[in-house]
C-alpha cells in the first residue's frame, strides 16, 4: 500500500518501465524514512529527466548530453524576473526614502511581473504537449513563484 503511494510519485512512463522492478526491490526490506526519502528523491529526479526514457531523442546518448526542461531559457527567465522584481520591492523599502523613487521602483516591478505572463503562457503552450509531466512541474513552479512575488509587488502601499 505505502509502496504503491511512493511509486505513484514517479512519472507514468517511468513506472511502466521500472515500476515492477522497483516494487520488487522495495519488498526486500522494511520501509524506513530513509528509504522513503530515497524514493522521493528518485521520483523528483525522474520528473526532471524524462529524456532518460527516450534515448532515441538524444542520439549521442551521453549522460551529460541529457538536459531537463527546467534548464530551458523560457523556464528560467520568468523565475529570474520574479526574483528581480522581489529584489526591487525589497530594495525600495530598504533604500529609497523618497516617495517618487519608491513609486518608480514599484511601477517597474509591476511591469516586470505583468511581462512574465506571456512568457509563462509561451512556455506552457510550447512544452506541455511535448514533456507533459516535467513541463507541468515547471509551470506550477513559475506560477507559485509569480504569486509569491506578485502579492507584495501589487499590494505594497507607498
Amino acid at each position: 500500500m505505502r509502496t504503491g503511494i511512493l511509486l505513484s510519485l514517479y512519472p507514468a512512463t517511468w513506472r511502466r518501465r521500472y515500476g515492477e522492478e522497483l516494487e520488487d526491490l522495495l519488498e526486500t526490506r522494511p520501509l524506513t524514512l530513509l528509504l522513503a526519502l530515497d524514493i522521493a528523491r528518485g521520483a523528483f529526479d525522474a520528473h526532471l529527466h524524462p529524456e532518460l526514457l527516450q534515448p532515441a531523442l538524444f542520439p549521442t546518448g551521453g549522460i551529460h548530453m541529457s538536459f531537463s526542461t527546467l534548464k530551458r531559457p523560457s523556464a528560467l527567465i520568468p523565475l529570474a524576473i520574479s526574483l528581480a522584481s522581489l529584489s526591487l520591492v525589497l530594495g525600495e523599502v530598504a533604500f529609497f526614502r523618497e516617495a517618487d523613487q519608491q513609486n518608480r521602483a514599484l511601477r517597474l516591478s509591476q511591469l516586470l511581473m505583468a511581462g512574465q505572463i506571456p512568457l509563462i503562457a509561451f512556455f506552457a503552450v510550447r512544452w506541455l504537449p511535448r514533456t507533459r509531466e516535467q513541463a507541468l512541474l515547471v509551470v506550477v513552479l513559475q506560477v507559485v513563484v509569480w504569486l509569491m512575488v506578485a502579492v507584495p509587488v501589487y499590494f505594497v502601499k507607498v
Binding site: 522492478e21 522495495l26 532518460l52 551529460h64
Partner: protein, 101 residues
C-alpha cells in the same frame, strides 16, 4: 567513437557489479553491499540504471518475473576500463604522496 561520459560513484559501482555477469536490481544491490559496504537505495539504484541504459552502457535482458537482469555492453565495458585507469592513477599518486609525508 562513443562520447565520453563521466560516471557517478553509483554508476561505477553498478558497472563493476555487472562486469562479472548479468544481474537484476536486487542482485546488483547485494553485490554492491559486498564489494563496497554501501547499500544503494532503490531510487538511487534505478536512477543510475536509467542513466546507464540511456548512455548505452548496459542493456536490459529478458525479465525473470518482476526481476529484469541487466548486462554490460561493449561501450559500458570500455567506460568502466577508462574509469578504472583514472582511479588507478589517482590511487598510485595518492599512495606515493602519502609515503613521502
Amino acid at each position: 567513437m562513443a562520447p565520453k561520459v563521466k560516471l557517478s560513484s553509483e554508476a561505477l559501482l553498478i558497472l563493476t557489479s555487472l562486469a562479472d555477469g548479468t544481474k537484476h536490481g536486487y542482485a546488483i544491490q547485494q553485490d554492491i553491499v559486498r564489494l563496497s559496504g554501501r547499500r544503494l537505495g532503490p531510487g538511487s539504484l534505478y536512477g543510475a540504471i536509467a542513466r546507464l541504459e540511456a548512455a548505452g552502457y548496459i542493456v536490459a535482458t529478458e525479465a525473470e518475473g518482476p526481476r529484469r537482469p541487466y548486462r554490460l555492453t561493449a561501450s559500458g565495458s570500455r567506460a568502466l576500463a577508462d574509469a578504472v585507469e583514472i582511479l588507478r592513477k589517482v590511487t598510485t599518486t595518492a599512495t606515493r604522496r602519502l609515503a613521502t609525508r
